[in-house]
């Protein structure tokens, strides 16, 4: 450090002391801290469900749930560091140890490739996968985006902190509004979009927005968040295999994943997965929550049949060919998703990117673009971008960087 920096630093320090040295208050007591801790635990349980990709669910045969108790015996509560509550008959291999990061997640200077091959939002401009755009009318901001036929469903807010799901026509004009809690979820082919309300009601919209159905309310304490829709038509009896299920996570004192079906029943998703975080033929979700906000997750071939487990990552989504998963750090707290990994289906990290050390690059939301590429919104050095990450760790811009405040995220990728 040269002398000028030293002197200027000292001058700056005096100015900062001048601002705060008169503050001698201690406004917080233990009760305040404990109250916030309980809120954090509830929030964390729901937050780990963010970024859900398209999913389908198979019910574990249990009885119809009545109230919050339901089948399944006692709630296991928080894990205390003991064995994972796998319900498979044999021991579940734990992957790891995680190898050293293979590369830094520095997205400050990348080549620019093709635009995203899926829908995405840039502020209030919606981009279709074919490159055409529409401007949203009647919504002030977008927090999530789901494409449905020619139309859209977006998550926004009313300016008072209340989330809303809003249907948009093909020309971007806002239509019906619904109270929203948590995330939007889509069916595997994107024909159905579902969400939960702050009171647990489940709504699905399909057929390009022409059909809206209400599925049974999810029991248990909120917050609620839709996680997945199982099939492309929720209207019972239209075809022999019509009907769908919507998987919804709840938190409160008991993190759970519920299945609300168009048959009119609600049941728990079994298999020890408390918060489903990904599905595409296989199930992936969180099985353990720890008081320090770390988690453990499992990949299950079917509910209760565990393939492997990890306490290093949260499993965000399967590639369309089911060969890989994109994952982020176990906690996902602080600066953002500091770790982004691509695992193969055996749990072996194929690409392990560390973002939170030197580059200050952060990954917000990860979506598979195709079998071999993940798209993620990034923020680094005051610039937002959409970055394409290949299975070999190669990176390029799908949307070149734009300057912006870290508080005003411009880009959102289509929920899949």
């Amino acid at each position: 450090m040269n002398q000028q920096h030293h002197d200027e630093g000292q001058r700056l320090g005096r100015a900062l002391h001048e601002q705060v040295d008169s503050m001698t208050q201690a406004p917080l007591g233990l009760d305040d801290v404990r109250s916030r801790a309980r809120t954090l635990q509830r929030r964390r349980r729901i937050a780990v469900g963010v970024g859900m990709l398209a999913a389908a669910g198979i019910l574990v045969p249990t009885a119809l749930v009545v109230g919050d108790g339901g089948p399944g015996g006692t709630d296991p509560g928080y894990a205390t560091g003991g064995p994972s509550p796998s319900v498979s008959t044999g021991p579940s291999p734990t992957i790891g140890p995680v190898p050293a990061p293979t590369q830094d997640f520095d997205v400050s200077d990348l080549p620019t490739g093709a635009a995203p091959a899926l829908a995405w939002a840039d502020g209030l401009t919606l981009h279709r996968a074919d490159g055409s755009t529409v401007t949203v009318k009647g919504v002030d901001r977008i927090h999530q985006l789901a494409a449905m036929g020619d139309g859209w469903v977006v998550a926004t807010d009313d300016g008072q902190g209340n989330l809303e799901a809003v249907r948009l026509a093909a020309d971007g004009t806002a239509g019906d509004r619904y109270p929203l809690d948590g995330d939007l979820a889509t069916s595997p082919e994107g024909q159905v979009v579902a969400w939960a309300s702050p009171t647990g009601e489940v709504t699905v919209v399909q057929s390009g927005g022409t059909e809206t159905l209400t599925l049974p309310r999810v029991p248990g304490a909120g917050p609620y968040s839709a996680a997945a829709v199982t099939s492309e038509d929720c209207v019972e009896g239209r075809t022999t295999d019509a009907g769908c299920s919507v998987l919804v996570t709840t938190t409160g004192a008991r993190p759970q994943t519920w299945v609300s079906t168009s048959h009119g029943l609600v049941d728990r998703l079994g298999g020890g997965i408390r918060t489903l975080t990904a599905y595409r033929s296989f199930y992936a979700g969180i099985t353990e929550y720890h008081p320090d906000l770390t988690t453990c997750s499992q990949l299950q071939d079917e509910p209760g049949v565990t393939r492997w487990q990890t306490c290093d990552f949260r499993l965000v989504g399967f590639s369309p060919d089911n060969e890989h998963l994109v994952a982020v750090g176990s906690i996902g707290d602080g600066f953002g998703d500091g770790e982004l990994a691509i695992l193969d289906a055996t749990g072996t990290p194929r690409v392990h990117l560390l973002s939170s050390r030197d580059s200050f690059a952060f990954s917000l939301g990860q979506v598979w673009e195709d079998d071999s590429h993940v798209l993620t919104v990034t923020y680094q050095d005051g610039r937002w971008a959409v970055v394409r990450v290949g299975l070999d760790g190669s990176m390029e811009y799908a949307v070149p960087p734009v300057a912006g405040s870290d508080a005003d995220r411009p880009f959102f990728l289509q929920v899949r």
Partner: protein
């Protein structure tokens, strides 16, 4: 759990009781200083209390794991900095945060007067969050570059570059306010 005899009445003291007692002592001893740091990070009192409450809650949840009690402050600083940066992940929540005043980030102040501290503080609030955090940790908390890097979760080189950029930005906008000489002349 162990049993403590108290005037003939057995009273159970649980690990939770002990933790709460320890934590309460920590709150009493350290809260004012922590609140000052939170204020410098957030720029407003309500935001500072909210940031500190959340950070203390996270510390409380991890209290039993913080084995080296002499490092609790460092651990909490890291939580605070991380939590402050993570606020942007909840855009609708951020809109609920109020500020005491809106900084004029385009203003160039080239006069030296008695309001220089306030103006410097105003300009500090316009710095990008990570640069501002480095400024608070290096020049208010007086942490070394290595300690700042540990709190920020970055390299020493990054701390140096962020601090250099911050000083350069402040120097450009208020060249006289950063000049230490007038302050020394007053002594």
């Amino acid at each position: 759990m162990h049993i403590v005899a108290d005037t003939g009445v057995a009273r159970m003291t649980t690990a939770e009781d002990r933790r709460d007692a320890e934590f309460t002592d920590y709150l009493r001893a350290r809260q004012p200083r922590l609140l000052r740091t939170a204020y410098l990070l957030t720029g407003d009192r309500a935001g500072a209390e909210d940031l500190l409450q959340t950070s203390l809650a996270k510390l409380y949840l991890s209290w039993d794991k913080v084995n080296r009690r002499d490092s609790v402050d460092a651990y909490l600083r890291r939580i605070m900095v991380n939590e402050h940066h993570s606020l942007w992940r909840r855009p609708w929540r951020r809109r609920e945060v109020t500020v005491d005043r809106v900084p004029e980030d385009a203003t160039v102040i080239d006069e030296y007067d008695e309001g220089q501290d306030a103006r410097l503080w105003e300009l500090v609030q316009t710095l990008p969050r990570r640069q501002r955090a480095v400024v608070v940790l290096r020049y208010y908390e007086e942490l070394s570059e290595a300690e700042t890097a540990e709190v920020m979760g970055c390299s020493v080189g990054t701390v140096k570059s962020q601090a250099s950029r911050a000083l350069a930005a402040l120097r450009t906008r208020a060249p006289r306010s950063l000049d230490p000489r007038p302050q020394e002349d007053e002594r």
